[in-house]
């Protein structure tokens, strides 16, 4: 996407040829990431594909081996002091002092922020804790928190100040289904307020439910990037015809300009039906016209469908492996 469609200021995060090597291992390999402002951007990839390393470099925690990063239109890490006050982050799990209470931990991190007014600190801490549903556990020591509660506290920390960009690395790790849902709602409401949200995840379903844009990492490379719809469209649609008249169906579909094949021989389901299917390019023959042609060609159509490749199929195709396999 480094084609200049987005002026720099319209991108919340932009990387150009970003590479990070640890010794001989290349964790991030020349990626060009473009996160539009106002988007909810899903950063997908199997564990170990370089997502967290990319985030660390973008936040100035680690230095890039080569390439450039800019955040909110400012070059990083040169403008780090100006940029980071506008960025809330949850990086690779929560990190807190176990001997301090949740509220005291947030006080600590907030007092490190030179732009955060101390006069409103108490109120902002309380508000952030309430927003993630931790109000009742504010005074409890973090050592006694469950993983899910720590994760929520990490989110509360990112929300201590109004932010233009939130970078959330695996925000639903350790949360139960209800907590996951709450995080999704939280992200949606933040996005509705105009905050750009950059969420990394290895869970496809999570990204699919809350993101407008997606980028996919695989073994340190960016293998796809765009809006969720772009990515969905990129997966091909197929027509499937269930019929006992295999030969007839193949003939009719071929006559329509499709490239059909028999994907299931007759008789497998205990009847004499088989399945013929063919890829359907967007904008070619309308599905209803195909059915009409089949019926006109004396093909007994017992079932007909146009299946779009699921995002999951698409991601498996892109990342090559099962989605949770570490590289």
């Amino acid at each position: 996407m480094g084609d200049g469609r987005h002026p720099a200021a319209e991108l919340a995060i932009e990387t150009r040829g970003l590479t990070k090597r640890f010794g001989h291992q290349t964790a991030v390999n020349s990626i060009d990431l473009a996160v539009p402002r106002g988007s909810v951007f899903g950063f997908l990839g199997p564990n170990g594909s370089g997502k967290t390393t990319t985030i660390r470099v973008a936040l100035g925690l680690a230095a890039a081996t080569s390439g450039q990063v800019s955040v909110l239109g400012q070059e990083m890490p040169r403008r780090l002091k100006d940029v980071l006050p506008h960025v809330g982050a949850l990086v690779e799990g929560p990190g807190f002092y176990p001997f301090l209470s949740g509220a005291a931990n947030l006080h600590r991190l907030d007092s490190a922020d030179r732009y955060a007014p101390s006069a409103t600190r108490r109120a902002r801490v309380r508000e952030a804790l309430d927003r993630v549903g931790l109000g009742h556990a504010a005074g409890k020591k973090v050592g006694a928190y469950s993983l899910g509660m720590k994760q929520r506290l990490g989110l509360a920390n990112a929300l201590l100040m109004p932010r233009e960009l939130l970078v959330l690395d695996e925000p639903t790790n350790g949360l139960d289904p209800l907590g996951t849902r709450e995080v999704r709602n939280l992200v949606r409401s933040l996005a509705a307020e105009g905050t750009t949200v950059f969420v990394s995840s290895h869970l496809l379903a999570e990204v699919e439910q809350m993101c407008t844009h997606v980028a996919v990492m695989s073994v340190g490379r960016l293998v796809a990037q765009g809006t969720l719809d772009d990515l969905r469209r990129a997966g091909e649609a197929r027509v499937r015809v269930r019929t006992p008249d295999i030969a007839g169906a193949l003939r009719v579909l071929a006559a329509l300009g499709l490239v059909p094949e028999q994907t299931e021989p007759p008789g497998r389901a205990g009847d004499d039906d088989g399945v013929v299917s063919a890829p359907l390019a967007p904008g070619s023959t309308a599905p209803e016209a195909i059915v009409a042609a089949l019926v006109a060609g004396d093909v007994r159509v017992r079932a007909f469908s146009v299946d779009r490749a699921s995002l999951e199929d698409r991601f498996v195709a892109l990342t090559g492996e099962g989605f949770d396999i570490a590289q």
């Binding site: 100006d82 001997f99 006080h107 007092s111 732009y115 100040m161």
Partner: protein, 289 residues
């Protein structure tokens, strides 16, 4: 520049950042809210108590020249308990506690995962180093004051208190002797700053706080062992432990400030060198913990 997105967004609550004393206050709060810190201070406070009780219970008064310096004076004047306890604590106990605090500064935050969050705030790496060093220095002061104050209290409880005879033979009032005790505490605090800077530097090298603590403590022992070898006399003035026990000059009338000055200069040198090393290491370090 109106097209600057950061300015355009106008989210900054104030145009200029605060100086940031809040972080130092928060550092002190975190340090002194830890049970570990209190355990160490309690152990230090117990040293003068042990000494005073042992001397009180023994049938014969301590003979001059046996045991730690000033021990023989304790029975005559309780105000000497604190000074005696400091002498006992300086070679091991104080460096031990300071090693724990200084070794924990950066490595401890890295170990908890709080370092990345502090840096993303952004706390600023240089600012964080300065605050951490200041926090360690505050602990040095707290530790020495604990020994002196605990010593004065137990001394006053178990032994007579009165005008103090100084090493020069002069006698000073109780009030002034308290001032002198605080002065000695200040001297010992300054003595420990070099070690704190070394601990801070070692702490930037690792994410295992225990390793940094142990290394710092070992170095303090090594410095004292080297300082005890006459063959290495040329090296002695450069050891950070060289002036550790030289606070006797503060117990003369008039006060001889030479050793205080030499010590302060040496410790400042150590703080500058190891502070610079810590800066060089930490400012460019990849935070991967």
């Amino acid at each position: 520049m109106p097209s600057d997105p950061l300015v355009r967004a106008g989210n900054l609550p104030c145009a200029r950042p605060a100086v940031g004393w809040d972080l130092f206050a928060s550092e002190l709060a975190v340090l002194f809210r830890r049970r570990r810190t209190w355990a160490m201070l309690l152990a230090l406070a117990a040293v003068p108590v042990l000494i005073a009780v042992a001397v009180r219970l023994s049938s014969s008064p301590p003979e001059p020249g046996r045991g730690p310096p000033f021990l023989d004076r304790v029975t005559q004047n309780g105000l000497f308990v604190g000074i005696t306890a400091l002498v006992v604590c300086i070679p091991l106990f104080l460096p031990l506690t300071v090693g724990v605090v200084a070794g924990d500064t950066i490595a401890g935050e890295a170990n908890l995962g709080t370092l990345r969050y502090l840096l993303v705030v952004p706390a600023g790496r240089v600012r964080l180093l300065l605050v951490k060093f200041a926090g360690a220095a505050a602990f040095c002061l707290a530790a020495t004051l604990t020994v002196v104050v605990s010593g004065a209290l137990i001394g006053a409880a178990l032994f007579p208190v009165g005008p103090v005879t100084l090493l020069s033979g002069d006698t000073i009032s109780v009030g002034e002797s308290i001032l002198r005790s605080l002065l000695v505490a200040g001297y010992v605090t300054v003595s420990l700053l070099g070690l704190s800077a070394i601990g801070l530097f070692i702490s930037t090298l690792t994410v295992v706080p225990v390793g940094a603590m142990a290394a710092t403590i070992v170095l303090s022992v090594v410095a004292q062992v080297l300082g005890a070898l006459p063959q290495l006399e040329w090296l002695h003035p450069w050891l950070f432990s060289h002036y550790w026990l030289d606070f006797a000059d503060l117990l003369r009338q008039p006060i001889a400030w030479t050793s205080f000055g030499d010590n302060a200069l040496l410790q400042a040198g150590y703080a500058a060198v190891f502070g610079a090393l810590a800066y060089g290491r930490f400012v460019t370090k990849d935070i991967l913990s």
